[in-house]
Symmetry: C2
Subunit: 235 residues, 2 copies
DNA sequence: TGAGGAATTTTTGTATACCTTTTTTCGAGA
DNA sequence: TCTCGAAAAAAGGTATACAAAAATTCCTCA
C-alpha cells in the first residue's frame, strides 16, 4: 500500500473524476502540512500540477472551503485556512460532543463485524507502534486511527452526523501536533483509551461508551503549551 | 408566493455573483416546497430559468448537495432530496444537541444588543400572530424564527458550530409541516418557549438556557402521526 | 527618494464548446 | 405484442475562451 508514485493522493479507484482527483490531491497537501496556513492556492498552478483544467479545481476548492480547510473570498486568491489555538480547541470540543453522541448510538447498533474490525485496527496500531518507533509510525497511524473513528461514526447510523464528523471538523495534523502534547506520550494513552471505548461498545453500554469517547477527545484538547518535543524540521 | 417576478429568490444585495443568485434561487425553491422531493434539477433548465450559464448552476447545486438538500450522483440528474420521518427526527435530534450547546455558550457571551434584538423578534412574531391568523402569518414567521435562532447561534461565538447549524441541518418547511403537529398548536407553545429561552439568556444561566432550548426543539420532534390539520392544497 | 496612481499583468468569475455517459427512442426479431 | 438492443437524443463532466476584478508594476511628481 505504500507505493511512491500515486499521483492522485488518495484512493485509486478505477476511473476517478477530475474533481475527485483534484479534491483529494489538494486536501492531502493541506492535511499533511505540505501546504501550510496562509499559502496561496492559485487555480492555474494547481490545474497544471494536477493535470486537469481549472473547472474541477474550482469545484474542489469550493468543497474544501465548505469544509473549512480553505478560505475563499470573491475575486480573492484562495489560501490555506489558518488554525489558531482557539480553532483547534473549538474543533475538539465539537468533535467531543458529536462523536460522543455517535459513540453512544453506536453502542446499541454496532455489528459484530464492525466490533471485530475495530479490534483489528487497534491491534494493528499497537503492533506498528511497537515495531517502528513513533517516528516512522506516524503516517500509518493517522490512517488507521481515522478509520477507527470512522467505523464508530458509521455505526451510529446517523448519516448527517457521520457527514459532519467526516467533513466539517478536520484539523491538519501539522497544526494538531503544534498544539498537542508530544506524540509518544499522547499515543500510549490513546491506545488505552481506544481499548476502553472498544470494551464499552462490546458491553453495549451507551453511557460508558460516550463517556470513554469524551475522555479520549478531551484528553487531546489542544493546549497553549503545545508540543514540547516535536518541532517541524524545515524553517 | 406573493409577488410574481422576483427572479432571484432571496436577498437582492447590490451586485450578487451568479452563483449566489443561483444558490438562493434554487434553495428557495426547495425550502418553500415549490420543488418537492424527487423533482429533477436539470442544469440547462435551471440555467435558462435563472438567467445564468450552467457553470454557476453547477456550483450552486454542489453547495446544496453538501448541505443535503439536493442529491447528486456522477452523471446522474440531480434531484431534490427526499426527507423521511427518520431524516426529520435525525435533524431535530442533532439540532437539539448542537443548538443546545450553542445556547449554553450564548448565555455567558451574548451582548445586550443581541438580547434586545431577540426580544424584538419575539414580540414581532407574537403581534403578527395576533393580527393575522396563522394562515397569512407563516412566511413572515419562518423568517423571524430563523433569525431568532441565528442570533443565538452567532452569540455562541463558535464559527464552525454556527456554520453547521446554518447549513447542514435544514429541513424544508413543507416536510416539517407534514411530520409536525398542526401549526396553530405548535406556534402558541413556541412563543412561550422562546420567551423562556430569552429569560434564561437574560439571567445568563447556561444550564437553564440549554435545557430550555432542548425542550423547545424536542417538543418539535417530528412524529409519525404528523400534522392532522394541514394538507397541502395541490394534488 | 518615496508616495500616489494609472497602466499592465495576473487571477478569478462566467459563458461556451466539446467530450463522455446516461437516458430515451425506435425498430428488429421472437 | 413484448423484449432486447442499437441508434439517437439529452444531460452531465471537463476544457477553453472571454469578461471582470484584483494585484502588481512602473512612471510621475513632490
Amino acid at each position: 500500500m505504500t507505493n511512491e508514485t500515486t499521483r492522485d493522493g488518495a484512493k485509486d479507484a478505477a476511473t476517478q473524476s477530475a474533481v475527485e482527483t483534484a479534491y483529494h490531491h489538494i486536501r492531502h497537501l493541506i492535511l499533511t502540512g505540505e501546504m501550510r496556513s496562509g499559502d496561496k492556492l492559485l487555480e492555474n498552478q494547481l490545474a497544471a500540477a494536477i493535470g486537469v483544467s481549472r473547472t474541477p479545481i474550482r469545484e474542489a476548492l469550493n468543497r474544501l472551503n465548505a469544509e473549512g480547510l480553505v478560505v475563499l473570498e470573491r475575486y480573492r486568491r484562495g489560501i490555506v485556512a489558518d488554525f489558531s489555538l482557539d480553532d483547534a480547541v473549538e474543533i475538539f470540543r465539537l468533535r467531543a460532543i458529536l462523536e460522543g453522541h455517535a459513540t453512544s448510538r453506536a453502542a446499541s447498533r454496532i455489528s459484530e463485524a464492525d466490533l471485530q474490525r475495530l479490534q483489528d485496527l487497534e491491534r494493528l496500531m499497537e503492533t506498528q507502534f511497537e515495531e517502528l518507533g513513533w517516528n516512522e509510525h506516524l503516517e500509518g497511524f493517522d490512517k488507521l486511527n481515522a478509520e477507527f473513528h470512522a467505523v464508530i461514526a458509521a455505526a451510529a447510523e446517523s448519516p448527517r452526523l457521520e457527514k459532519i464528523l467526516a467533513s466539517s471538523l478536520e484539523l491538519p495534523a501539522s497544526i494538531f501536533n503544534r498544539y498537542s502534547e508530544p506524540v509518544e506520550v499522547r499515543t500510549r494513552r490513546t491506545h488505552a483509551q481506544h481499548r476502553e471505548i472498544l470494551s464499552a461498545l462490546k458491553a453495549r453500554n451507551p453511557e460508558w461508551a460516550q463517556a470513554a469517547m469524551n475522555a479520549h477527545l478531551f484528553s487531546l484538547l489542544p493546549t497553549a503549551s503545545g508540543s514540547l518535543a516535536h518541532e517541524d524540521g524545515a524553517k
